[in-house]
Subunit: 228 residues, 2 copies
DNA sequence: TATAATTATGCTGCATACAGAATACTTGCC
DNA sequence: GGCAAGTATTCTGTATGCAGCATAATTATA
């Protein structure tokens, strides 16, 4: 190692390398959004030529993105027929939520142990912002913050792999969750659970946190039930 | 639904639709194996032209497979530079095993509750076969059965999503685990833990099973430690 | 001889071309 | 009019071509 290396490391910390974005990445992100927003509805076939033209991209990077989406479980590929946006059965939903519950519990447990006060305060800030959006009934922003909180708790575990797995599963049910929270009474219930979650985390009360995560996930299943 | 539908369903159950295998699938499988076997070593750059020629395939399906591998976390893509086989740090290892432990515990817990006696007997059979390979020191076959047992326990939970997540993570550390079990004393330790696992499952003793899975995963970390 | 600048090569990212399968359409027949 | 067979069209799967970036090789310079 020469003396130059140190300087380079310092620089790379201050100015993180900007990573080139390929069309693959761009398309991938766009299509994820389209699925979550419902522009691409569950069960719908994905016409490569059409979507490609729509996004102004050739079929090559688009197909690569589709393969990634398939790996993430958001679309299903039927050879020689094409890809369709994946439809989740109630059994799928139950399975996803069961695993998600466990992952969040693991994340929560670790967060209680190792998260700094600042980290927890940041999560509280997200929660407050969410409540703000709730009070003005801005459902979209509320929803985004809601998701962000769940992610933040898991992230506070410091376990990247956990974050990744959680993110994958969360993406699968994102849309259903969004539709599911439609009724006001359902919405209120979710808000109350969230309040308890934050409090437990602040107190670093693992038992209480485990319980409320369990409750939150189980009631999510009920909230989403009639959507599928 | 017409009367014909019933016949079709029956037929499709008896003779499951053969699914066309695309080059993408084929290449994907091959490359996974190559990574696990070490033909593609961690950190090694993947030359598309080279591998393509080697497999007798054009770059298109190969690139698609690489994108999938990246999504599975087995390779890393650096835009305009290419893909490299992912290198796992000891922190990565710890994170993966932590999540894997939790997933297997969840699977084990559910298996104790809902698995049929036949299912458990089948797992016992796998275990016996594994012990057979152990006694003749056939490390490769032993290893495959070992992995199969872990997968089977998780599969006995009946939760597809859990199986999928478990499989993804298991794939990431497959190679390290294989190398890690090299010393005879390490090997023996793992075998003993497995024996306890099966017994706990047969007794449907959840607590004992949770404990041995915890032990098994933690000691796996130690066994693998010096490999990286 | 070591280093910097410059050229040359190789490889990736993307677009396009083509073959074959799947689907939609049309025509003929009952 | 409804169904079957045959034809046409669309779309996927794969290969290939080309531009641009990254790296290796080469030359120039101190």
């Amino acid at each position: 190692m020469t003396s130059g290396a140190g300087t380079l490391d310092e620089a790379s910390e201050a100015y993180p390398r900007i990573q080139r974005r390929t069309l693959h990445d761009e398309v991938l992100e766009r299509m994820r959004d389209m699925i979550i927003e419902g522009t691409l509805a569950p069960g719908q076939r994905i016409n490569e030529g059409l979507i490609g033209a729509q996004l102004g991209v050739s079929r090559t990077p688009l197909r690569e993105a589709i393969k990634t989406l398939a790996s993430e479980g958001l679309v299903e590929i039927q050879p020689a027929k094409g890809a369709i946006v994946r439809k989740f059965s109630s059994a799928d939903m139950r399975n996803i939520l069961e695993v998600l519950k466990n992952l969040e519990q693991l994340g929560g447990r670790m967060a209680c142990e190792i998260a700094s006060d600042e980290t927890i305060a940041a999560i509280r800030a997200l929660h407050d912002a969410m409540m703000e959006q709730y009070s003005v009934r801005n459902r979209l922003e509320y929803f985004k913050l809601n998701q962000a909180i769940h992610s933040a708790i898991v992230a506070a575990s410091g376990n990247d792999v956990l974050v990744e797995m959680h993110g994958t599963l969360q993406a699968r049910i994102k849309r259903l969750r969004f539709i599911g929270n439609e009724g006001p009474e359902k919405w209120a219930g979710a808000v109350a659970e969230h309040e308890t979650m934050i409090e437990s985390l602040e107190k670093r009360d693992v038992e209480a946190l485990m319980e409320v995560i369990r409750l939150h996930m189980d009631s999510t299943r009920l909230r989403v039930w009639d959507v599928l």
